[in-house]
Amino acid sequence: MTKPIARSPSMNAEDMETIRMMGSRALLEALKREGTKVIFGIPGGAIMPVYDALLDFDIRHILARHEQCAGHMADGYARASGSVGVCMATSGPGATNLVTAIATAYMDSSPIVAITGQVTRAMIGKDAFQEADIVGITTPITKYNYQVMAAKDIPRIVKEAFYIASTGRPGPVLIDLPRDVQTEEDEIPFPKSVKVRGYNPSIEPHPLQVKRAVDLLVQAERPMILAGGGVHISGAYEELLALAELLNAPVATTLMGKGCFPENHPLSLGGVGMHGTREANLLILEADVLLAVGTRFSDRTTGRLTEFCPDAKIIHVDIDAAEIRKNAKVDIPIVSDAKKALKSIYGQILQMALKRQPSLWLKRIEELKAQLNEEATSTGASLKPKEIIKTLRRLLPEDAIVTTEVGQNQMWAFLHFQVIKPRTYITSGGLGTMGFGFPAALGAKVAKPEVPVVDIAGDGSFIMTEQDLATSVMEHIPVTVLILNNSVLGMVAQWQRLFYNRRYSNVYLGRIPDFVKLAEAYGAKGERVEALPDLEEAISKAIKSDVTTVIDVPISPEENVFPIVPAGKALKEMLWE
């Protein structure tokens, strides 16, 4: 040890290394020690010392064309890999451009660490050039944030940031770094571990609550499981599958949970909610016990809450105690990591050695699924969204990753794209951010270069972040953008059609730009396809291509997503077509 270090309340001083260096290098060294291999970002005045130091570090930097995209890339990277994604921006406008991406990650509990430059310490609060109070701005949309006031605090803060972002209920953490802290040289301690006394993310399920849940589940006649994004986060896939099979309980997922249970499994009902499948939305009304795992009962999932699962006793497993009884009334709350809770519920039921008879409930599920899933064959001039999505599924390997934009494209994918492997369906569920899918696809591809990545897009959404085609070409990150081009802001148009008497207000986009030419302008490939065989060929080529391909598929502007539960209505008020 060189010299004594002031003991911070949140740091174990036991054993740490101290190195004399500049703040900027300390940041990168600390990131490296956390396992960071790639940073998505854009430089600027207040973060230049870090960008200068970056030249000497073995960390890949991907230069985005908009900070929002850098943020979504980090998010897509995190969701595909399960590890923390890192993005970086300069102060002021660079930082504020990150805001949408941070809010998106926050709503979907995605672990990212955002690093922003800031004006020098002395200038803070003086409305200096490119000063924005990014800590104040992002307080309600980050799990935690920091403004670093001394270079010697950097490694501890980075370590805490990764710990907070990636444990418990994950979420974004922002680190704001004044420029002169980056250039400050000091004896900088690198702690080996951190402890944050107000934060305890590892919670064991309460045995009594588990026992009560078990009692309810084994007595249930019509048990059902609602699986949310928490199942992905905790990696509780095997536990979920085992428990569902043991109980003969059908599994419906939320939008965030999609893919945490294989959708080709006989017990899978697909997604539930505003654009859930018919079978999921119907059967959830009939369940007598609902085991909800890792979900916050969002309004898009439950419809009008008072009529959600009217006859069911609800068991709610969530690691975030603040989610329990925030929205839904629950009978048995279990504050716990999903994996631990499901494991102990499963273990206890297994010990009881129940003999489950093939029940009426299972028969009802099978019959309903068979009845509802008769293929409607399409006629008419243009390709049907469902056909396009099913074709894509057929041509993609099981481990390919799909991202979506927001709107009809997202909901068609939710309904018709069968997800088999976990973490292969990435979507902005909570914030519903148009423009998310493409940069998230780039981030996912960086995390998983060996699998094809496809963004299922709408024309309106893709326009919001298409400039990062430049990033994909320059950085050799080949993905496929499949645009369901209806020439309108489709989901808004659908609402205007259904709920506003076809009074279309400001939804027409006019098939501008020409996406083929647009792609070519960036050095990417562009294809327009109007028939099924051409679509098949274009997809097959695109997913093998070493440059990004934009496939533009014209569809009718009149297409609707069905079923739909109108906003504020109960699931049972679902419109079928």
């Binding site: 307080t139 006394r197 975030d320 603040a322 009884r325």
Partner: protein
């Protein structure tokens, strides 16, 4: 009194560092919770401060407030303080118009009855310091109204549970 205008007292031990009050009040604003009063001060323990919050609402609301507070990283411990098991105090400084000798004697007498103190005297005003439950302070202010209240400042509630129970953080 209906359940929804019940007053609840919550004590929170928080990190004593810049921005913590902002995080707490920002959370209240964002979640649509209304704070009736909030007091903050350092505690005996190193690096920790204690916040006493009062909120008005039903059981559902207080449960949400407590959970959202616990969720904040800088909040180390949260407890509800139940009336009956809690000592509740507020302090107020009240500047009263005292135009003549009679007014001055009257005010001094009232202050004595309320076990308060006169902390400032000028030609035409006196400032009283009163400590007690919010009800007691309300009552005192009511009595002073006829004299004319020039200014008043109240600290908001601070509270501790009775006996050995505590909200302290174990070392």
């Amino acid at each position: 009194m209906t359940e929804s205008d019940q007053i609840h007292i919550i004590a929170a031990i928080v990190e004593h560092k810049p921005g913590v009050l902002y995080r707490v009040s920002n959370m209240f604003r964002r979640r649509g919770f209304n704070i009736e009063s909030i007091t903050v001060g350092p505690t005996e323990e190193d690096g920790l401060a204690r916040m006493t919050l009062t909120v008005k609402g039903d059981e559902y609301l207080v449960e949400q407030v407590v959970k959202q507070l616990r969720k904040l990283i800088d909040v180390v411990k949260v407890s509800r303080l139940l009336s009956g098991e809690t000592v509740v105090r507020e302090m107020a400084l009240i500047k009263i118009r005292t135009v003549d000798a009679k007014a001055r004697t009257d005010v001094v007498n009232y202050v004595e009855i309320f076990r308060g103190r006169i902390v400032d005297v000028a030609h035409e005003s006196m400032t009283a310091e009163i400590t007690g439950t919010p009800d007691k302070i309300d009552a005192f202010i009511e009595l002073m109204r006829p004299f004319g209240i020039l200014e008043d400042a109240r600290t908001g509630i601070t509270a501790l549970s009775r006996g050995l129970k505590s909200v302290k953080v174990e070392a």
